[in-house]
């Protein structure tokens, strides 16, 4: 019997390996190979209009040294920081607020939940278009209403002082449902008894939120924030449709700058170097996520 049993275990293990193998091979081919290619390209001055620049490793650090002295790159990182920090904070606040409202548990609020998640699932290009409509002075219902009551507002997306703010609004609108859904899921996991106990002890709403609910949703808020932070680094369609990085370069985030360098100016080596730095930055953030969720799990166990 033991021999036969061992045979079965080995067979089973082999079967599982066979099930994993195709996925691992495909994943390696479509993720690791491009990553290696990207890093190698970032060490060359590749420019598709100059054929001899491919695989020219004579000055491997060239792109990275140039990046350090490129004020437009530094500005793009700064724009990115402003965009990411403000949208993440706003999405957390709005998402938390709406989640607390929807947690009321009436039939209407249950139904409203599906409505609130619409912005998040719309194709990003459509989100861009519908905010383009909102921001275009001659067609936007908002601008026309303000003009009608005698307080015309100039277009936000063509004003260098306001363009980034316009993107922040649209980005917050698109992604607050994400934090809302995550927080709502966490709120619904809170057991009823501590809430009741606090209420019987005479705690007011703020105290119940701060001392009873908040500890339960704290780790969810952190995870939601980091997810939104990482995704905000990929912002593209909204900027593409609304401002194209402009006016000037006030809304040109790092992702957009890398896209421009590679696909508009054909500076593939330089674009790859920017993308490589972005991947490195995001890996650091991913590591933080893993630590945080691991810590949260350990706490829960």
């Amino acid at each position: 019997m033991p021999v036969q049993r061992l045979g079965w275990v080995a067979y089973r293990q082999r079967s599982f390996m066979a099930g994993m193998a195709p996925a691992l091979m495909v994943l390696a081919l479509i993720t690791i190979a491009p990553a290696v290619y990207l890093v190698l390209t970032s060490l060359t001055p590749l420019n598709l209009t100059l054929p001899n620049t491919a695989w020219d490793f004579s000055n491997p650090a060239g792109n990275y040294i140039d990046l350090l002295e490129d004020p437009r790159f530094t500005r793009s990182v700064w724009v990115q920081v402003k965009l990411s920090v403000s949208t993440v904070i706003l999405q957390l606040l709005v998402g938390l607020g709406v989640a607390l409202l929807l947690n009321g548990g009436t039939r209407i609020r249950e139904l409203a939940r599906s409505g609130f998640l619409i912005p998040m699932v719309l194709p990003p290009i459509v989100v861009g278009i519908l905010w383009k409509v909102m921001y275009a002075v001659d067609i936007s219902p908002f601008h026309r209403f303000m003009a009608y009551i005698g307080l015309p507002v100039p277009s936000l997306i063509t004003d260098p002082n306001w363009a980034l703010f316009a993107i922040v609004i649209a980005e917050t609108w698109e992604w607050f449902p994400f934090t809302m859904l995550m927080v709502l899921a966490a709120l619904q996991m809170i057991p009823a008894s501590p809430l009741e106990a606090a209420r019987i002890d005479g705690a007011n709403n703020w105290q119940i939120f701060r001392f009873v609910m908040f500890p339960y949703i704290q780790s969810t808020l952190v995870v939601a924030a980091i997810f939104r932070l990482i995704d905000s680094i990929k912002a593209f369609p909204l900027i593409f449709v609304l401002t194209d990085g402009g006016p000037g370069d006030v809304t040109e985030v790092t992702n957009y700058y890398a896209y421009r360098q590679a696909f508009t100016f054909s500076l593939w080596g330089y674009g790859s170097a920017i993308a490589t730095l972005m991947v490195a930055g995001i890996f650091v953030l991913s590591w933080v996520i893993d630590r945080l969720t691991g810590a949260a799990d350990a706490e829960a166990d």
């Binding site: 099930g19 990553a35 390209t41 719309l122 459509v126 995550m182 799990d297």
Partner: protein
């Protein structure tokens, strides 16, 4: 020794507040509902505005009178242009990429769930990293490689690129569903003479059908919504609906009625699908961060 439950005098009930407090509580509920509806209308306003614009006749496209004679002119105009072909492209790439990701990813998710591999944690991290990596890091090498492989501006090229996010998503989403299926059921099938994959096909997979459906829908939505990859990797032959809208804007300018109609058509399938799978959306979109 177990503590005995002694009969206790009835605990004093929570003292009812003054009548006004009851009134306030009841109204708070009602006010909250009203607030929810008002907020929902506000949030969905830009969305609804685009939809109504798509039905407005050209001569008062800018109007905001609620009463207007709806017209399908914009939709008909779209039908004659390049838009229908892009819609077909979108459908083919999204469906194919979803099916391919499921075929490759589902067995892997099952193996990860049951195999007890020592490296499964490392694989999980790898998948998380794939989810996190910025698309620009994939588009540059894919664009360069496709020039040599002859895959630029082809549907196959797009389908492969969409696997970069769909495959990771399938593995990540399906694994907990398989974890939830009791192993005893498979073991019974094994005893009855089924092989590992036969038992999986006949027992485990049917029991995970809702999870499979939700995963498929989310893969479809992510591929359908993609703009960046399609913008960079296609020109004319393989351009998908989101890119077609942009091309259309570049050629004919901001012709609002038709843009609104195209936008409405592109978002229609995802709105329907996402409401169907709303309970799984967080798990899909936060793949890697939410452990249930």
């Amino acid at each position: 020794m177990q503590r005995q439950i002694e009969p206790q005098p009835a605990a004093p009930r929570a003292r009812p507040g003054p009548a006004s407090r009851y009134w306030f509580q009841r109204n708070r509920r009602w006010l909250g509902d009203m607030g929810t509806i008002a907020l929902l209308l506000l949030v969905l306003f830009p969305f609804a505005w685009l939809v109504q614009m798509s039905f407005r006749p050209n001569k008062d496209i800018l109007g905001y009178e609620l009463l207007f004679e709806p017209t399908l002119a914009h939709y008909k105009a779209l039908w004659t242009g390049a838009f229908p072909a892009s819609f077909v492209n979108s459908t083919i790439t999204s469906v194919s990429s979803t099916v391919l990701a499921l075929v490759i990813g589902v067995p892997a998710a099952y193996a990860l769930s049951r195999g007890g591999f020592r490296s499964s944690r490392r694989i999980a991290l790898w998948i998380l990293a794939t989810r996190m990596a910025p698309p620009i890091a994939f588009t540059i090498p894919f664009f360069l490689a496709y020039r040599y492989l002859g895959l630029s501006d082809t549907l196959i090229g797009l389908i492969i690129v969409y696997l970069t996010f769909n495959l990771a998503l399938v593995i990540w989403m399906m694994q907990p569903f398989f974890d939830g299926v009791p192993r005893e059921l498979e073991e019974a099938a094994w005893i009855d003479g089924c092989g590992v994959w036969e038992a999986f096909w006949r027992v485990t997979l049917p029991l995970s059908a809702p999870g499979l459906a939700a995963t498929a829908v989310i893969c479809f939505i992510l591929s359908w919504n993609d703009f960046f990859y399609a913008l960079v990797l296609t020109r004319t032959n393989a351009s998908t609906a989101p890119v077609a809208i942009v091309n259309f804007i570049q050629y004919t300018g901001w012709e609002w009625g038709r843009i609104a109609a195209a936008g409405t058509l592109v978002m229609l399938p995802v709105v329907i699908f996402s409401i169907l799978v709303r309970n799984y959306l967080v798990r899909g979109l936060a793949a890697g961060g939410v452990k249930e």
